[in-house]
Amino acid sequence: MREDAVLLLDELNIALSAFAKDIKQGKDTDIVYGEYLKGLLLHTAHNYKILKNKTGQIPDIPYKTLFVILPGNVPMVFFEVLPVSIVYRIKTFFKFPEDEKNLYSRFISYLNVKHPEIGKLFDGSYLSHIETEKIIREYDFLFAFGSDKLKDLLSKTPVPYRFFGPGFSFGITFDSVNKEILKDVLFFDQRGCLSMKFLFYTEEHIVEYLKDIFREADYQIPPTSIFNKDRFDYRLYSLIPYGEIILKNDKNAIFEINSPIIPDIPLPERTLILKRINEEEDIIEFLGNHIHRVQAIATDNPNKVQKLREYAAFITEFGKLQFQPYNFFFKKGVTLENIFWR
């Protein structure tokens, strides 16, 4: 990596650490997420440190400007794009999600004031779909994060792009889980691709333990302000033919699925879907084609996860699912070195 990029990554690390300490609950995000966000930003800052020492040869790219369509409710993505822009020295514009523009614009302003050498690389605002469609044509390259609906927009643009589609993560426990699993499941109401949707288990006692820790979960990790209780109830009750409600609190649930494959209906938010398995192959069969959407796996025994390794970008312990490793660039196989190549 070029020396100037290393220096800027160092500076970004300092900026992010300082900004993280300044996160105010209720100002930048929902109350409970303040602490989480702080932890995430410090973790990301730490990742920048590792990254600068581990990265290989950064190739030249023919692009001078980058447009990034950020996903809603997943702040990690914004902070993970920053080092990419710095290392490639590419001027980057972020299209912010509607509800979260405050956090991101504050950080960019902060960079401009305290670290103008980095700050000048970044800009961003909230834009409507129509405005986005118009403006992206002025950019050399496009990163798009979000739902499959985005593909329509991308198919209309002549700009080269890299699309990071929706994904999901899951857990496998062979013996035990700990209460940190609540973070994997409930932070951001399962809206991130690193949120745990399913927990596959082999031992019966896990279910009782989960019921215990989920009982108080609404107090410990309450829903975000955009949580839709009616949608949660509707989708949970639509799952009834496929299994059993193990626990239903006001705003979270545990549901055990009996069917051998995933039902083809939208899954409820803040709901951990349990599935008993005998072996790894049961998971592969259950996920079917969705297996290509897998992002990460949390487990108590990584040694027993063998066949699923080829699908997951990383494997981690319970409670760490949303704290990505330094070399995670949104999708398995994507590295800092190849991120501009589709």
Binding site: P71, G72, N73, V74, V77, P97, F145, G146, S147, D148, K149, F164, G165, P166, G167, F168, F188, Q190, R191, G192, C193, S195, K197, I226, N228, K229, D230, R231, D233, Y234, Y237, S238, I240, P241, E244, I245, I262, P263, D264, I265, P266, L267, H290, R293
Partner: protein
């Protein structure tokens, strides 16, 4: 059939929501619609209840996959238009259609005026909207028209929001007829986000002397709701809407005696003085980068 007569009498002659009759209906439906009985058992552990608030409303999506009918055999089914995904099927027979007619005629606000329509009422066997409009034309006169020139002072024009939108964009000259216009079917297929008031406003430019209504109904409900230029949608004692602020439509429809009465529909409504307004169908699936399945 005692329950049927009780419900018919209740729709026609009462004016307050009767919770004990509602609970009796739930018990009847759980005994006669096995899927619904299982749903109640799996969600609550029982099929008999002392209060309606103990009962979870039943998601209407189940009409897309299950035959939910209290009789062993049916004589046909209404199918939804499928504008928001898969189609719902609601099975019927002569007895259940009798309740449909009782409810539809009770809530219809423009009785005794001839009803002209662009809706294809020949589809009355498969479309609940066509069935309802045909019921009104049979009862109050009128029928299907092919041209706006066929309207006269005093008529009711019943049409979909899309048809109304098309007409007001095609016709250049104002129409000075004293008519009532009822639009229905929602604005999803129109190019921009519409509220009923926006559509009224645009339509007023052409239909200068018309009074506008909106009908809010769906295949899964045998009862309908009406709003007009000055009044929001109002529920009925026999189709009671449970809403606190803004949220999904939760309704107990007594006319659904032979299907399922206590339903939740993913339509977002807002409570307003004296009634409610329809906001939109909740189709928000993916926000963030999470894959939501389905």
């Amino acid at each position: 059939m005692d329950l049927l007569n009780e419900v018919k009498d209740y729709i026609k002659n009462y004016n307050e929501f009767d919770e004990s009759l509602a609970l009796k209906i739930i018990e009847f439906q759980s005994e006669n619609i096995p899927f619904y009985g299982d749903f109640l058992k799996k969600t609550t552990g029982k099929t008999r209840f002392n209060r309606l608030k103990e009962v979870p409303p039943f998601p209407t999506d189940y009409f897309k996959s299950e035959k939910l009918f209290a009789f062993k055999t049916s004589e046909g089914f209404f199918e939804s238009s499928g504008t928001t995904g898969e189609r719902s099927r609601v099975y019927y027979n002569k007895t259940s259609l009798g309740l449909y007619r009782t409810s539809a005629l009770t809530s219809y606000p423009l009785k005794n005026k001839p009803l002209k329509t662009f809706i294809d009422i020949e589809k009355y066997g498969i479309s609940s909207l066509a069935y309802m409009v045909k019921l009104f034309t049979d009862k109050f006169g009128g029928g299907k028209i092919n041209d706006i020139d066929e309207l006269k002072d005093g008529d009711v024009l019943f049409l979909t929001a899309i048809q109304l939108h098309r007409i007001i964009n095609e016709i250049k000259e104002p129409i000075i007829l004293e008519i009532d216009i009822i639009e229905t079917g929602g604005y999803k297929k129109l190019k921009k986000d519409y509220s009923r008031f926006m559509l009224y406003k645009e339509a007023k430019k052409i239909f200068k002397k018309a009074h506008f209504y909106t009908e809010y109904g769906m295949t899964e409900l045998f009862s309908q709701f009406y709003a007009d230029e000055t009044n929001p949608f109002k529920d009925h004692h026999y189709a009671k809407v449970f809403l606190n602020g803004t949220g999904y439509l939760k309704v107990f429809d007594f006319a659904n005696l032979f299907q399922v009465s206590y339903l939740v529909v993913p339509d977002i409504l807002r409570q307003v003085n004296g009634g409610f307004e329809y906001i939109k169908r909740d189709v928000e699936d993916e926000r963030g980068c999470s894959f939501t399945f389905g």
